[in-house]
Amino acid sequence: MSEAIRQRLVVIGNGMAPGRALERLFETSPGTYAVTIFNAEPRVNYDRIMLSPVLAGEKKFDEIVIHGDGWYIEHNVMLYKGMKVVKIDRAARTVTADNGTTAEYDKLLIATGSQPIVIPVPGANLAGVLTYRDLDDVTAMMLAAKSRGNAVVIGGGLLGLEAAAGLREQGMNVTVVHLVPTLMERQLDSAAGHLLRKAIEARGIHVITKANTKAIIGEKKVRAVLLEDGTELPADLVVMAVGIRPNAALAKDAGITVNRGIVVDATMHTSDPDVFAVGECAEAFGQAYGLVAPLYEMANVVAAQLAGDKSAAFAPSATATKLKVTGIHLFSAGDFADGADREEVVFRDAARGVYKRIVLKDNKVLGIVLYGDVTDGAWFFDLLRRGTDITAMRDTLIFGPTVQAGAAKDPSAAVAALADDAEICGCNGIPKGKICKAIADKKLKDLAGVRAHTKASASCGTCTGLVEKLLQLQLGDAYHPSASQAMCGCTTLSHDDVRRLIVAKELKSIPALMQSLEWKSSGGCAKCRPALNYYLLATWPGEYVDDSQSRFINERIHANIQKDGTYSVVPRMWGGMTTASELRAIADVVDKFAIPAVKVTGGQRIDMLGVKKEDLPAVWSDLNAAGLVSGHAYGKALRTVKTCVGKEWCRFGTQDSTALGVRIEKFMWGSWTPAKVKMAVSGCPRNCAEATCKDVGVICVDSGFDIVFAGAAGLDIKGTEALGHVATQDEALEVIVALVQLYREQGRYLERIYKWAARVGLDTIRKQIMEDVERRKALFERFVYAQKFSQEDPWAQRAAGKDAHEFRPMADLTPLQAAE
């Protein structure tokens, strides 16, 4: 459809609700709308409910992203990150952001979510007082937690407890202050609340109930929390998690009807027929919603309405809650208050810490509280949602579906007993039948497959166990839960198993290895082959013949593939030093081959981008003539050794950092490693070469060289750890080489040094390199031996004709046809 007749849809807010609505809209009527999103948060749509695992250190932010940048590009969505809309002009049909950016709309979708309530006590605006809502809050909490000090969490509801558990996990001393006697009183009765309290306290978290906060004390920064009864709790960090309020002010200012939230009817229209609201900011049937499941239902309705289905309507249904604290299992749904017209069935097993309570009214399930054993949660919840009459199974109801079916106690039976339309994944509203169908139709074998195809268990993940049981039921013995530990689908062996067996069984080629280790696929896959090639190469230097067909294209042809299929070429500049003649040669090559872009890289060298594949050998030949060789900027190999000018020029320099860097690079270039290796040498602790975020770094000091390692400055940011101090350049080189060799021998393919170090332990590595001198020397010798076979410039080899087939088409049929 042409841009002119496309309708313009503007979305304010980029949370989970509009994310789902757009996903559905693009599925059902792609191309109907030109979409613009304003998001006050400077980022893409992510799974907000997974912030707690991020805080607890169990997940990384990129694992919880729902729509990466690519998704917006793919669907032609203009996403304005970090722009807050401050005005809606309904007459002009425009919205305007705080920086003045304005967009016109035909349809407007307000999805501003809600904002955490800040209790208006004195001191609430001190530094160190946070709320818990977005990634910035999590980052701030994690930063504060570095001090290992005291944290006070105000609010013992779902969010407060998740924050408390996360902060405790980060090493803080945590106190939870809760107004009423029972934790999570909106989801739990007092018995379950008591069990929960014991479990929380068992993690070393203090819980104070019936406590009202009077003030937060501190000068510039928070120092303590003062309770009504005079208790003063020391605090370096205060997190308020006392509830949320729909973000409706923007809509209200625009004259749209607003109550507690933005009022919408069942079709999600606001009082303005061209304006929709969705998510936590919306109020439907007199209620605002704060859980994802109903918000996703709203989102489906908005998508259908936008696509022209006027009959789509939102009908609120019961929701279930789970606490996402690893090791604590609780499930709650519906209404479980006591009442004259209600009956209840209770089961307790104090020894196992299990408590189950089902509230019944007119022989139907009205409320469910499960603590400790939540396996039957989905089944009970299904009875609740359907309003099933349970008279016939009244006596054994509490024992769950297994007993109803009369079967022996089998953990899968509960799942087997569920009806096909029973909901498994509450977040995404995925019923059992849909998952089973996907497993059968798409021949899914594991959790990852189910997540990719159905989204089940891809949000909060608490239904993962149920999904795994479905896989188990459907696939029987063919399901291997441990398959995820395996190197790839071609084997059940892990990376470490394979490395061990290569040595033990003296496996020296990929076919021999696949034969001996009973590879399941005929020739491996793109995951295992490059890994095997590396392992064999690193284990048998001089013996193993590199299999170029098992290398990624970049390493096969020694240049970096770019998104348009051209390549980039980066010659080495030892230690970041260059000369006039090298620069001249580069300039000449750029002119001669009409290379479109030249860039200075982060690693102190020069990148020529957009080189045509056919030109590569000739480009290299010209560069070689000026003494320039491959920089391995494309490889799992030694990349760069950055240096500062050091003692030679700098007035602070303590050693000749440049010379050391050049020496290291000349010694180590050409070696293959499990993942890329970047190094740096700084001439003094001012650290101009940024050595403290590298895989290996050196900081020169008057008395010698401080060697550091295991830093990261990519997807993860991590300062280095100390390895040791040595007095001379020779020793520095020996230590660094031995460290890299140990990594070459132990690292899993694609595992950077900092991940390897975290896995095997910093101290173990320090001992082997710094204390066990014999071992260090042996590692050094093994590296030196391997280098004999790897220090030949791959560019020179190819300029001289090696692998010529890589750079030329097999046949060119163009001239013949064109001559017609």
């Binding site: 005929s522 020739g523 793109a526 067909q549 294209i553 088409p809 163009t814 046809q817």
Partner: protein, 115 residues
């Protein structure tokens, strides 16, 4: 010009090279007026040909890693079946195939199906 569009010969086979020109578990490119064709050789010495454009974002499939009868795209690791041209796994999409045969050690492509 117009005449060419009307005439659609049934199948014009063209020899494009020898089997030995392609490394085992590798690929080579054949340039045609309408774009590149990737010709693959598997470990069993079977040949397959596909348009050299990944259905995902146009990555050059000829530069990928060949395994079994599939190739993994070098740009974002989609796995494409060499026989059907369809993406495997959870990804959906497909690339046109070109009929390919070996006769006496030479590789022949069915020209009418060239892009």
């Amino acid at each position: 010009m117009n005449a060419r569009a009307l005439v659609r010969p049934a199948a014009v086979w063209r020899a494009v090279g020898a089997l030995a020109d392609i490394p085992v578990r590798g690929a080579r490119v054949v340039k045609t007026p309408a774009g590149c064709v990737a010709v693959f050789r598997t470990s069993e010495d079977a040949v397959f040909a596909l348009h050299d454009r990944c259905p995902h974002k146009g990555g050059p499939l000829s530069q990928g890693i060949v395994h079994g009868t599939s190739v993994t795209c070098p740009l974002h690791n989609w796995v494409i079946n060499l026989g059907t041209g369809k993406a495997e796994g959870a990804d959906e999409g497909s690339v046109p195939t070109v009929a390919a045969e070996i006769r006496d050690g030479r590789i022949w492509l069915s020209l009418s199906e060239l892009p």
